[in-house]
């Protein structure tokens, strides 16, 4: 029933994003294809339609959709369990006969499910648009880009959920989460620029994994996959521990 309630609370936003993200991806695909058609340089990098596919997937999904997914996950997480404290409904919820871990993991599962569905829809729309614009389907492999995108979304969603529980407010949790996300995105770039040291970044993982899936990158970012899977699971665990010790 809690899953139903989570879905009911966020369904408006989910449906809007379920439409918006694929539309954004199709739009960027159209722009990118049109742009590449007229560029000699683009022909150098994408001498055939398979390369054009790979470049488009890496740009539209690996970069644009990844960034939008992170922002979407951030906002979705703001309306999660911690908001119950702000709305003063936590008292009602937490006297239902379930362990507190149930509320954390059920809410997290619904949120990650919604992100995954949205991401898959965006990838499928991009895939369909590319097939439509080029009249060519090299392989179904690019559909797998949905996995790193969903994983990245799960990391940010879990982090925001955790922050809403820490702050006991959706809005404050969103503010903290946004601050952490901005620092997390900017810091690796700055550190890499000034000190030439690679700092793991969830966006970097999403882009890297996308490039490997479409065949642009040679090495699969296994280390990053393990790291970000662990991080994605650490946040709900931390939320669980926090909630179990919280006085309502």
């Amino acid at each position: 029933m809690y899953a139903w309630k989570c879905w009911r609370d966020g369904r408006g936003r989910v449906i809007i994003y379920l439409i918006a993200l694929p539309v954004i991806c199709v739009f960027f695909t159209y722009i990118n294809i049109g742009f590449n058609k007229n560029q000699a340089l683009a022909r150098t990098f994408a001498p055939d339609v398979a390369h054009a596919w790979a470049n488009n997937c890496a740009f539209v999904l690996g970069s644009c959709a990844s960034l939008f997914t992170l922002i979407w996950a951030l906002f979705l997480g703001a309306s999660s369990l911690g908001e119950e404290f702000k709305e003063k409904t936590a008292e009602f919820l937490l006297v239902r006969p379930r362990p507190r871990s149930y509320w954390v993991w059920m809410g997290w599962s619904v949120g990650v499910g919604e992100i995954s569905v949205t991401v898959f829809a965006a990838v499928a729309a991009t895939f369909g648009a590319l097939a439509c614009f080029t009249g060519h389907v090299p392989s179904w492999r690019p559909l797998a880009i949905a996995l790193p995108l969903a994983l990245g979304g799960a990391v940010i969603y879990g982090m925001t959920c955790f922050m809403t529980i820490v702050a006991r407010s959706g809005r404050e949790g969103l503010s903290y989460g946004l601050g952490i996300l901005v620092i997390h995105l900017v810091l690796p770039i700055a550190v890499s620029y000034y000190w030439k040291v690679d700092v793991p970044s969830v966006l970097g993982f999403m882009i890297g994994a996308s490039k490997w899936i479409v065949g642009i990158a040679r090495d699969f970012p296994l280390g990053s996959l393990v790291l970000w899977t662990a991080v994605a699971l650490v946040f709900p665990f931390a939320s669980q521990l926090l909630l179990q010790r919280a006085d309502v």
Binding site: M1, T89, E91, L94, R98
Partner: protein, 312 residues
């Protein structure tokens, strides 16, 4: 199975700025209506939060329906229905949707009870909770609690916003449908008249301490005002009585039991007994909690009362 619905021993809950519950020993028998009385901020809600696992006790321990607090919280919540003081539920859901949401958590949920009580309490089932009046919100909370099939109902200020007709109906439901079914009702309130109508037992809390715990019938039959006139009575302490007021030579005592013997004792000391009269629950409540701090060293009478009036 424990014969106590709620039992606590030396329960303490401290917050950074206040000691909300201070060594509370509660004994709530099964199958009774227990009125948990106290002023605002006396520690009633804090106690309830501990019982339901919403807050962790700083010290002490206890059981609810035989299950230890904090260790078997899910088992406690399966058998316990709770109406909170705030009566805040999901504003974007209608009562019908709230029923749908709540139903899934309770194997003993009764749709029949939902139909019965929603009609009886005249609840608008298809209007968003946020759009309901305070009274209707209270009714929805009561509906959800009554339909769970719980063995124990914990009601924190359940009468908030209810008009006299609905309140009367609700109290009748508690007595006829709930307690007659062998279930226990634990009502926290400062509305003494409502509690007095239906309570079998009364617990009186102030500053986080239990001042009195007894059967309501015993209280009514044994507690007495003794008014006496005499010199130097204030110099003598009487362990069985509490000096409530003095004006000139007239002194008013609250006596838990043995009012006649106490009056005889006063007479032997040269006092004249002006009146021995019964007390209402309201009078007992006011007498016990009106002291600013019942346990300060200068407040000897109240301290004695605290020590001597508890009925185990």
């Amino acid at each position: 199975m424990s014969d106590m619905a709620i039992w606590t021993e030396k329960l303490v809950k401290t917050y950074p700025d206040v000691r909300a519950v201070d060594g509370l020993n509660l004994n709530v028998p099964r199958g009774v209506v227990y009125g948990f009385l106290g002023r605002n901020g006396a520690g009633k809600s804090s106690t309830i939060r501990i019982l339901l696992g919403l807050a962790r006790p700083t010290e002490g321990h206890g059981t609810v329906l035989g299950f230890p607090i904090g260790r078997e919280q899910v088992a406690i919540l399966e058998c316990t229905a709770y109406v909170s003081e705030s009566k805040t539920l999901y504003g974007n859901l209608t009562p019908r949707e709230l029923v749908r949401f709540t139903r899934g958590f309770y194997p003993r949920w009764s749709d029949q009870a939902v139909r019965k009580y929603s009609q009886l309490l005249e609840i608008p089932m298809d209007r968003h909770f946020s759009k309901l009046s305070q009274g209707n919100r209270t009714k929805v909370c009561l509906l959800l609690a009554l339909s769970q099939g719980a063995d124990l109902l914990i009601l924190d200020e359940p009468a908030t916003g209810l008009d006299p007709v609905v309140l009367d109906e609700f109290l009748r439901i508690l007595v006829q449908d709930v307690v007659s079914d062998g279930k226990t009702v634990f009502i926290s309130s400062h509305q003494l008249s409502d509690v007095e109508q239906i309570a079998d037992w009364v617990g009186l809390i102030d500053h986080g301490r239990l001042l009195l715990e007894a059967r309501l019938d015993d209280i009514k039959s044994e507690f007495r005002w003794v008014t006496a006139a005499g010199d130097d009575l204030t110099q003598t302490s009487f362990p069985q009585a509490m000096l409530v007021a003095s004006e000139g030579n007239f002194h008013k005592y609250l006596v838990k039991s043995g009012a006649e013997a106490f009056a005889a004792q006063l007479s032997r000391q040269g006092a004249t007994i002006a009146e021995i009269s019964p007390m209402s629950l309201r009078e007992i409540f006011l007498a016990l909690v009106r002291k600013e701090d019942p346990c300060t060293p200068g407040n000897v009478g109240a301290t004695v009362a605290v020590a001597s009036l508890s009925i185990s």
